[in-house]
Symmetry: C3
Subunit: 143 residues, 3 copies
């Protein structure tokens, strides 16, 4: 059962709830679930300099490839989003700019911080709720 | 004077406000205030493998015991919650799953990160507002 | 184009959106834009023990002076706010108490944490939206 914000028009909360569900899926290894939060023609650019992943199948493939580096590494990754700034446009899209930090923990270890990023999303509303039409991740250490 | 969201039905914001007040109390050493954010029969499981604390008195006792380790340690602990996913159930309870990080600072020192956790709350609404019926903390480093 | 929450009375979301825009300006080096989020007589106390900056011009000057230390340091600073507790008063002001963490990244480097702070804001509503009448920053390592 998923939450429905039928009694509120508060977009900001809806986006926060959407992001929480989306990233808990990714951090839990549910790549299919993560890809399903994008539109059918969605575009996900997570690594500067490499071609963005396109379509849900393309995003799933890209995630499997990216995560191959963790195959023998029992790391738990957690994506934190913060300072979300929303900009709804007249064409119905919602542009979101926010900060993201990956916090990693290995068994018995202390949390570590992976890159700090600025993320630029274009969200659209479809019957099922919000979806990412695109996501572009910029890494602070590559600026 | 506490905030009342009487003009809004936005549950997500209400939960964020509730958590902020709750954890600022805990980080400020107000164990009684923290325990009062639980129901009378509330259950708080903060350390995997040990028995959960039950009832407000039990929670206060458990916090005093846990904090004994900081008796001669002037550490300032701060609990950060993020990526809150809410799931209101038909029985009126609200299930919340979110990330938590403890950030600690010692006098003259830099902030350090204590465990990264996933927290599972069951919230209920009583006349005074939201309360925790239960809280279960899972530590990433113990997975 | 800036977001307007005309269809909602949810203050909490409005404050989060306000803070995101405000701090993305500061982290982007737009000191004038940051100062414009304060009232004309606004007061900004960011360093304990030194005199608060007053008026928008005073805040801009203070930021230029503070940032002189980063002149030859290509650091990217990011301000994260969390656990925001709002307390609207009967005089129309909104008192906010929250946690703040500065996360810094240097080219090719890993993120680092600068001070953890508790911030105490007084917000007021003017025609243009929310503004800071005052901001007081307390550093955990100086407690």
């Amino acid at each position: 059962m998923s939450i429905t914000f039928s009694t509120t028009t508060d977009l900001y909360s809806e986006v926060q709830q959407f992001y929480a569900g989306q990233m808990q899926k990714l951090d839990g290894g549910d790549f299919e679930g993560y890809a399903a939060t994008f539109t059918a023609d969605g575009e996900f650019s997570h690594t500067p300099g490499s071609k963005p992943a396109r379509t849900r199948t393309g995003i799933i493939d890209s995630l499997h490839e990216f995560h191959r580096r963790f195959e023998n590494d029992p790391v738990q990754r957690r994506h934190w989003f913060n300072m979300i700034s929303l900009n709804p446009r007249s064409d119905g899209t919602i542009h979101a700019t926010f900060y993201a930090l990956v916090i990693t923990t290995r068994p018995g270890g202390k949390p570590d911080m992976a890159p700090h990023c600025v993320v630029r999303d274009v969200l659209v509303r479809q019957e099922s709720g919000l979806l990412n039409r695109s996501r572009r991740v910029e890494h602070d250490q590559l600026r």
